[in-house]
């Protein structure tokens, strides 16, 4: 069994920043996670032992690089329990994954007067692409509402669906509120109306088990850097039947079969969607991240996050003047809060001076802030390296901040 000290010691940044009287309590994993040594080592190892361009080489190095790359595809497939590795498309992040689906899947289907449904708690990356697409095509963006707890009002979904609905786009977990959405139920209702569903899994993939077959979602998007992997990596999962019918997203090397000046033909899945040289080293690092997660076990990780959530929620609720924004029955390790009279930026600056990294602002979720009629929150989010002791220290500092600004 892993101890929390053992886990912390696998993160060079956490270790390094807490050395010699310095302190870093990193509570911003929803923005990006820190990286375990094995991910960093994998990048070094890739550039030291395997670096070559892939899919086109007839020498050992290129073969090795290609093999590692395609191997990661299989690892990711297993990690999210997809049926086929061809359904795994490597992209630069969740944002690109969602834009890819907007441009190549929904755009060609969307006629004037058609509709796209998003939830009221989406990150800008799962809202603005749909909004702009609707504006461009004279279609309608429908918003699935939430209640004051920050829970999706599932009973309203069916009312929003019709033959005109071309997609439902919803986050698995809200990065602003921590709510875990009933994605499986949403998919099942949408499918009754024949509507495909894209799930933004950016906040789920690194923290809880992901099973796209069980969810039965049509697309699943996530980012490597939020699951202990490198920046510049991400994955789009799509059901084969949809991916097959989609046009390529970008054009260039690696994704063509034949090219003449008059016309070209394109490769099969998944290469059709991977034009140009991909982030080969990043993908190697992503494989190491998946191994890290699987070694710890998603069940352990999910439980750890839940323990911290419960502990922190209790402690924070005890503090006078603190309001937690988002109290859904099912939450992940993310807590948004406001402190009476203290602006989130003052709170985060105060905490920063005490070695605590939290995020302040709207968390790329302005409509959520508008819903709660607040300009922003202070957000605390957990990773595998966080401890209850760190939460004790946090609450202590928050109390001091309230006194300081009183």
């Amino acid at each position: 069994m892993k101890t929390i000290e053992g886990i912390r010691s696998e993160f060079p940044l956490i270790e390094g920043m807490n050395r010699e009287g310095n302190k870093l309590v990193y509570l911003d994993s929803a923005a990006t996670t820190q990286k375990p040594r094995q991910v960093i080592d994998q990048l070094v190892s890739y550039y030291t032992n395997s670096n070559a361009n892939i899919h086109r080489g007839t020498y050992d190095l290129a073969e090795k690089a290609t093999h590692e790359f395609e191997n990661t595809r299989k690892r990711i497939q297993q990690f999210i329990h997809a049926e086929k590795s061809e359904e795994i498309i490597f992209v630069s992040g969740a944002t690109e994954a969602i834009n890819l689906v907007a441009d190549t899947f929904v755009e060609p289907l969307l006629n004037i007067g058609d509709e796209i449904v998003v939830s009221a708690m989406e990150h800008h990356s799962n809202l603005v692409p749909w909004q702009q697409l609707c504006l461009r095509k004279n279609a309608l963006l429908q918003v699935l509402p939430m209640n004051k707890q920050g829970e999706i009002r599932l009973e309203k979904l069916a009312d929003l669906l019709s033959g005109k609905t071309k997609l439902v786009a919803v986050s698995h977990i809200s990065n602003a509120l921590g709510t875990i959405n009933p994605v499986k139920e949403i998919v099942s209702i949408a499918h009754e109306y024949g509507v495909p569903v894209l799930v933004d899994g950016a906040q789920n993939a690194g923290h809880h088990r992901t099973d796209v077959i069980e969810l039965d979602c049509d697309f699943y998007a996530f980012s490597g850097h939020k699951m202990y992997g490198p920046t510049g990596t991400g994955v789009l999962y799509g059901k084969e039947k949809w991916l097959e019918q989609m046009r390529p997203y970008r054009y260039g090397g690696e994704m063509v079969k034949t090219v003449r000046f008059e016309m070209s033909s394109f490769k099969e899945l998944p290469h059709k969607f991977e034009a140009g040289t991909p982030n080969i080293a990043g993908v190697a690092g992503l494989q190491a991240a998946v191994e890290f997660l699987e070694n710890l076990g998603m069940e352990y990780i999910s439980k750890h996050s839940n323990v911290l959530l419960q502990y922190a929620t209790e402690k924070l609720e005890e503090i006078k003047g603190i309001t937690i924004i988002g109290c859904a029955a099912r939450k992940s390790g993310i807590i948004s809060l406001t402190a009476k009279d203290i602006h989130p930026h003052d709170m985060s600056t105060y905490l920063n001076e005490h070695g605590i990294a939290v995020r302040a602002g709207h968390h790329c979720s302005l409509p959520v802030m508008n819903f709660f009629e607040i300009p922003g929150t202070t957000r605390i989010s957990f990773g595998v390296y966080n401890t209850t002791k760190e939460i004790d220290y946090l609450t202590q500092c928050i109390k001091k901040a309230i006194k300081y600004f009183a």
Binding site: H343, P344, H345, D346, T349, Y350, E353, H362, P375
Partner: protein
């Protein structure tokens, strides 16, 4: 704490708690919004222009301690000035709060450190920038 007290100088904290000229004045001749989308800070400025001078300057809204105190001091300083004087004062404040230069105006001194705090460079200058843009458009 030394470091924190630099940013949250007692003058800033005092203005934050009890801002000057802090009231809505919907009847004002001129109204300006100062808005920072990054952090949601939003102040409304209200004023008239009498004899080419700023008059009855007040504000209302939401912001962090630094932006609120800066706006409070802004209303104190700008009231009664001509547009030329406003611009001169803006330059003085900008040099101090953004470029970190020394200033001869005591009330500005606490803002000199603001620009050195992560992500806080815009807090002190927010209202001042919006006001300056507004009067430049007037000309």
């Amino acid at each position: 704490m030394q470091h924190l007290d630099d940013l949250y100088h007692e003058i800033i904290r005092a203005h934050n708690k009890n801002p000057e000229n802090y009231f809505k004045n919907e009847a004002a001749e001129c109204k300006i919004e100062a808005y920072n989308p990054l952090c949601g800070d939003q102040f409304h400025l209200y004023f008239d222009i009498h004899d080419k001078r700023i008059a009855n300057l007040s504000f209302h809204g939401y912001g962090c301690a630094v932006s609120k105190a800066s706006t409070s001091i802004f209303t104190e300083k700008m009231n009664g000035l001509t547009l030329e004087e406003v611009l001169a004062l803006y330059k003085n404040f900008h040099a101090c709060a953004v470029e970190g230069k020394n200033t001869d105006i005591n009330d500005f001194i606490p803002f000199q450190v603001a620009s050195r705090f992560p992500g806080r460079e815009k807090c002190a200058i927010l209202t001042w920038e919006s006001f300056k843009e507004y009067i430049e458009r007037l000309k």
